[in-house]
Symmetry: C2
Subunit: 639 residues, 2 copies
C-alpha cells in the first residue's frame, strides 16, 4: 500500500530505494550460521569494502573527502543496511560512523585532510577506542593517559592499569590500522579531562606498532563478523597533532587552550557530537525488528494448527487472538518507533554543522537520541524473542534467521550507551529542563539543583504542537466520557503520566536533600522512579511523533490503517502501564478493562491487514533469507 | 548456608551431590562456543556415553535393565545435569527419557526385555519421533500412518504427505538406530488413533534402513550438540510386535483391542504417561537459570561503576537499586520454582507405576507439570536475558556462557509442548475441575460442559492446606489492615485472583454459548483470559509450594532468609499483576504503591545475602565455566 511506504520512507525514499537495491546484490548476502570466525571477519570486511566501493560509506562526509555531505542520508542508509547482515552494519558503523565520525567531529580541517578520504574508501581501517575494561558507561573516569612531552612535542599514550585496557573495540582484533583513542590529557601537572587522539596501531603489513599490545575478544554471542579486540599502550609516542583538537589543543610549549573553559562542559560537548552513533544503533535495531516481524507474521499467515470443533479446516496461527496479541502490538510499536527515528534524523540533519543551532535544542536531540535508542533496542530484543517463539520449532532453525537477529541485536542494549544509564541521562535532562548552564552537573549537582527549584514541569512539545493540543482540547471534561479509542485521550494520558512522574520525582529528591540525607542514597532510593520518568517521557515523545507523522499521510486508505495502528500502539502502552493510571486515580477499573478489550478489538481489525503492514517494509528476500519468511509468489516484495 | 542447601536439595541430596561431583569431571566440560557442528555432536554423544557408563542414565528404569527404579531420582539427576552442557542434557533426555520412556511406559514386558537394557547403556541410540512438520502441538492430528497387514502380520509405516514428515527429531540426524514413531493406527477400514511403534532407522553401520529417508535439521539457534533430523517412511514394514501395545494391541488376525475403549481418552492416557519429559524440561530450565543468576550476581558484586558525589570509591553494581530490582526478584522466583519442581518430583515418584494412584490426582500432576514447565522456561528466558544485560559488554563474550545459556534454553518454551498450548491445557483442566470423565473433551466439549454447569470454582489445595488456611484466616477483616508483607495476605490475594479469573472465564464462555455464538469464536475471543486463568492458577500453586517448603526448614537463620525471599517472590508477582487487583477493587492505589515500596525494601534487605543465595546453588566452577562468574577464592563453591 503506497501510503504505508510513504510513511516508512519519510524524507529519504531515494536513499532507502538505493540501499534496498544494493542489499539484493549477492556480495551482501547474510553469512551462514555456522561460518568460521576468521572467515566471517574477512567476509564482513569484504562487504564493508563493497559498500564503500558502491559509494555507500561517505554520505555523511563532506564532498571533498568523497562524501555527499548529508548526515541524514547517512543515518538512513545505515538504518536500511540493518535489514542485512548486522555484523556488516556494525563494521560499517565502527569505520565510518565512529572512527570517521570522531575524526570529523572532534578534529580540525588538518585532521580531516589527513584521514577522511582514506577512511571513506576503507583504505585506512580504524577503531573507536573509548571503552575500557574497567569503565564503559562512565567515560569521564577512563584511565588511559595522554601526557604531553614538550621536549619531543609528542604525547605519550599509556595504559596504566589492567582496567585501563581498551576493550570490546571493533576493528581492533584483525583489521584496524589506526584508533581514535580516548584518554585523560595531562600537560605538566595539569589534567584536562578526556580527549581523543589518533594512534596508529598496526603498520601496512598488519604488524602491531611498537608498544601497542593487541588482544582478541574472541567469540561473542553475536556479531561474530566484527573483530572486537583489546588495546593496551605501553608509553606509545604520537606527534602533538595526533590530538583531535577542535575542543581543546596543546601548543608546542605545552600550553592548553580550549573554546570551552569548564572541563565537564567540554567533555559533554565532545560526547554530544557523537550523537549520530546512538541514532544509528536505534535505526539498526528498528530494521532488524522489521525483519523478525516480517518472518513471524508471514509464517503466522501460512501455518495452521488445530481444527475448531464442527469445522473442516485447521486455523491459521494469526487467527488466534493470543497470536495476534503477541505480534500485532509489537508491529504497531515498530511503526511508532520508525516515526520517532525519522524525527531524530531530521533533528540531526538540521543541527549538524550548524553553529547557530540552539544549544537547548541540541541537548534535546541528544536526550531524545538516548531515549529512543533505549526504547528501540529493548523493543528489538523483546520482539525478536517473541517472533522466535511464535514460529515454534521451525523458528529455532538457524536457516530462518531469528536466532541470528536475536544474537546480533542483543548487545544493542549495551553498546553506544547502556540502556539503563541512557535513561538516567534522559531523566537528568528532564529534571534540569535542558538548561545549558546545568549541562555540566553531576548527579549531586542535579539533585541540588532540583532541591533549589520551585519545581514545576512544563513539558515541551516536540512537534505538531497545535494538532496535539487540539486533539487534547477536544476531549470531554471527564475521562470516562471520552471514547477509549480517542486519540486525544491517549495523548492526554501519556502527557499526564509524564508530568506527574517527573513532578513526583523532583519532589522526592528535594525532600530527601532538605531532610539532610546523603544525595547518593536519595538518588539510589528513587532509581526506579528515575527510570520510569525517562520511559514516560520517551513514550509520550514516540506517540506524538507517530500521531503527527500519520497526520501527514495523504492516502486515505493508508491513513485509516495507520490510525488504527497508532491506536493499537497507544492502547498497548496504556494497557501495560494501566496499574500506574489506576494507582493515580486517572482511570477507573472499568475503564482499564475497556482498554484491554479495545486492544483485542484492534488486533481483530488489523488482522486482515497484517500482511500489507509487513510487506510495506519491502525487505528484499535476499537479506530476509528465511525460507519461512520470504514473500509468497503473489507478493511483489521489496519492489 | 546449610539451611538454604537443605531447601534446594529437597529429598534427593545424595543424587544431587553425586551429579555435582560428576559435573566436575573433565569429560563433562561444556563445549567451546565456536566448536564445529559435527565435532559438537560427537562430543555430546561421548558425554552421554560417559554418563551412561557412570550409571547416571538408568535411575528411572527397573533394576533388571540396569536401572535403579527411582523415577524421582532420575528427574532430579536430569535437573542437576542442567548445570552443565545443555546439549548433553537434551541428548540424555531424548535417549533415556523420551525414547526409553516411551518404550517403558507404552510397551509391555516383552518390549522392555527387548530394548531397555541396550537403551540404558546407550548401545542402542534411539529417537522419539512424535512431532511432524505439519503438526507439533496438535498430536492428535499426526498424519503418519501405521496400517496393519494381516497377511504378513506386519505394520506398514508410511509418510503420506510432506507435512507428515517427522521433524526436529533429536538423535535422528546422526546417531539414532531406532525410533519410537507415533502414527495413526489402521486395521482394515478402522482407525484407532495415534499409537507408538518401534521402527529401526539405521543398521549397525549407520546406513539408513530401506524405505527410511533421513534428513538433517542443520544448524540451530542453540543445542547444536544434538543431531536433530527428519524422518520419512516409504511403506516401511515392521513386525506386529513393533507396536508398543500396553494401551492398544492388534492380534495376528488384525483384531484391535484396548483396555481403554474411548479413543480420545486412550490418547490422553498414553500422552499422560510421558509427563516425565515435561517435568525434566522444567528442571533443566531451573538449573540453567541458576547458572545465569550465579554469574550475574557474582559479577554485580565485583564490578564497580560511577563514583557517588563526595565519595572516594566507585559503587558496586549490585548496590544500585535498579540492578537489585533486575536480579533479586528473579532470584527469589527461581527459589520458588525449585520448590514447585520438588513438588512435581514427589507427585511423579508417588504416582509412577502405582495403579492405585487416583486418576484425578494423576490428571492434576499432568496439569501442574504442564504449567510449571511453561512458567519455568519463560522465567529462564527472561532471567538469562536480564543477566546478560546486567553483565554489560563482558556478558556478551561467549566465554562468559550467558549466550550459550540463552540460546540453548530458548527452545524450552517450544518443545515438550509449546508454552501457550500448555497453559490452555491447564485452563481446560481447571474449567472441567479435573473430572476424569471429561478427560476426552475437546475445546467444544469443554465449552459445552462449562455452559451446562452452575459453575463455582472450588480451588483445590495442593499442599500444606492447614498451614495456608491458618495464614489466610489470621488476616484482619480488611485488606488495608494487613501488613503488605504479611504472607497470609499474599496467599489470600493469589487465591482470590485465581478463583475470580476462572469464575469470570467460565461465565463468559457460558454466556457465549447460551447466546448461540460459534464455540470457536467464543473460545478465541476469551483466549487472553484462558491464558491468564492458567497463569493465575500456577502462580498460586508455586507460591503455596514455596511457603510450605520454607516452613519445613529447621535452620532459623536460613528460614528467615527464605521467608524474605518468599515475600519478595510473592510481592513481585503482586506488583506485576497489581493492575488486575486494582481493576477488581481488591487493592487500593495506595496499597499498590506500598507493594512497590516493599519490593524495593526487600531488595535492600536481601542485598547483603545475595552472595549466599547463589552460592547455595553449589554449581561447580567446572561447568559454570564463566571467568566473571566463578567463585572467588574465599568461597567454597560446589562443596
Amino acid at each position: 500500500m503506497k501510503g504505508l511506504e510513504v510513511f516508512l520512507d519519510g524524507d529519504y525514499a531515494d536513499v532507502r530505494a538505493e540501499v534496498r537495491e544494493r542489499l539484493r546484490r549477492p556480495e551482501l548476502a547474510p553469512a551462514p550460521a555456522d561460518i568460521d570466525l576468521d572467515e566471517y571477519r574477512e567476509r564482513v570486511m569484504d562487504q564493508a569494502r563493497f559498500i564503500a566501493a558502491e559509494g555507500g560509506s561517505g554520505l555523511g562526509f563532506p564532498k571533498e573527502y568523497g562524501g555527499e555531505g548529508d548526515v541524514g542520508a547517512s543515518v538512513v542508509g545505515f538504518e536500511m543496511l540493518g535489514h542485512g547482515d548486522l555484523s556488516t552494519v556494525v563494521k560499517v558503523g565502527v569505520q565510518f560512523g565512529l572512527c570517521g565520525g570522531a575524526i570529523y567531529q572532534l578534529g580540525t580541517e588538518e585532521h580531516h585532510d589527513r584521514y577522511l578520504a582514506d577512511i571513506v574508501t576503507l583504505d585506512l581501517p580504524g577503531c573507536f577506542a573509548m571503552t575500557e575494561s574497567g569503565h564503559g558507561s562512565d567515560v569521564q573516569s577512563l584511565e588511559t593517559t595522554a601526557t604531553y612531552d614538550p621536549d619531543s612535542e609528542e604525547f605519550v599514550i599509556h595504559t596504566p592499569t589492567e582496567s585501563a585496557r581498551k576493550d570490546y573495540i571493533g576493528n581492533a582484533a584483525t583489521h584496524g590500522r589506526i584508533a581514535a583513542v580516548f584518554a585523560q590529557l595531562y600537560t605538566g601537572d595539569d589534567k584536562h579531562g578526556v580527549h581523543c587522539f589518533v594512534v596508529p596501531i598496526r603498520d601496512g603489513d598488519g604488524t602491531p606498532c611498537p608498544g601497542v599490545e593487541i588482544g582478541d575478544c574472541g567469540h561473542k554471542i553475536g556479531l561474530n563478523g566484527v573483530d572486537n579486540g583489546r588495546l593496551s599502550f605501553d608509553h606509545v609516542r604520537v606527534p602533538r597533532t595526533a590530538l583531535l583538537s577542535r575542543f581543546g589543543d596543546v601548543a608546542p610549549d605545552g600550553t592548553y587552550t580550549s573554546p570551552i573553559e569548564d572541563e565537564t562542559k567540554r567533555f559533554f560537548t565532545m560526547l554530544g557530537t557523537l550523537v549520530q552513533g546512538r541514532i544509528s544503533v536505534s535505526g539498526g535495531a528498528i530494521s532488524a525488528t522489521k525483519n523478525a516481524l516480517t518472518i513471524a507474521v508471514r509464517y503466522g499467515l501460512s501455518r495452521r494448527q488445530f481444527s475448531p470443533p464442527d469445522s473442516h479446516g485447521e486455523v491459521l496461527l494469526l487467527d488466534y487472538l493470543a497470536h495476534q496479541r503477541r505480534l500485532l502490538p509489537k508491529l504497531a510499536t515498530v511503526y511508532a518507533l520508525s516515526a520517532a527515528q525519522q524525527f531524530l534524523v531530521r533533528g540531526l540533519h538540521d543541527s549538524a554543522g550548524n553553529p547557530d543551532y540552539p544549544a537547548r535544542e541540541r541537548r534535546k536531540l541528544e536526550t531524545h537520541a538516548a531515549g529512543v535508542k533505549a526504547l528501540s533496542t529493548w523493543h528489538a530484543s523483546e520482539t525478536i524473542q517473541t517472533c522466535r517463539e511464535a514460529c515454534g520449532g521451525v523458528g529455532y532453525l538457524s536457516e530462518n534467521r531469528l536466532g541470528q537477529l536475536k544474537a546480533d541485536t542483543d548487545v544493542f542494549a549495551t553498546f553506544e550507551g547502556d540502556n539503563t544509564v541512557l535513561l538516567q541521562l534522559v531523566a537528568k535532562e528532564l529534571l534540569t529542563d535542558y538548561r545549558d548552564e546545568f549541562g555540566e552537573l553531576d548527579t549531586l549537582g542535579t539533585i541540588r539543583f532540583v532541591a533549589d527549584q520551585a519545581f514545576d514541569v512544563v513539558v515541551e512539545r516536540t512537534a505538531g504542537r497545535q494538532l496535539i493540543q487540539t486533539l487534547i482540547d477536544a476531549l470531554p471534561g471527564r475521562d470516562e466520557d471520552a471514547s477509549v479509542r480517542d486519540r486525544g485521550w491517549h495523548l492526554a494520558l501519556f502527557t499526564f503520566r509524564e508530568e506527574h512522574i517527573i513532578d513526583g520525582l523532583a519532589r522526592r529528591l528535594r525532600n530527601g536533600i532538605e531532610n539532610g540525607e546523603d544525595p547518593f542514597d536519595v538518588f539510589n532510593r528513587s532509581q526506579d522512579q528515575v527510570l520510569l520518568a525517562a520511559k514516560a517521557h520517551m513514550d509520550r515523545l514516540v506517540l506524538e511523533q507517530f500521531v503527527t507523522t500519520v497526520d501527514d499521510i495523504d492516502d486515505d486508505e493508508a491513513r485509516e490503517l495507520l490510525d488504527k495502528l497508532c491506536e493499537l500502539h497507544a492502547l498497548s502502552v496504556i494497557e501495560r502501564e494501566r496499574a500506574w493510571f489506576l494507582e493515580h486515580g486517572r482511570i477507573t477499573g472499568a475503564r482499564a478493562k475497556a482498554v484491554i478489550s479495545a486492544v483485542n478489538e484492534l488486533c481483530g481489525e488489523l488482522r486482515p491487514h497484517a500482511r500489507a503492514l509487513v510487506d510495506a517494509f519491502r525487505i528484499p528476500d535476499e537479506v530476509l533469507a528465511a525460507p519461512i519468511g520470504v514473500a509468497p509468489a503473489d507478493t511483489p516484495s521489496g519492489s
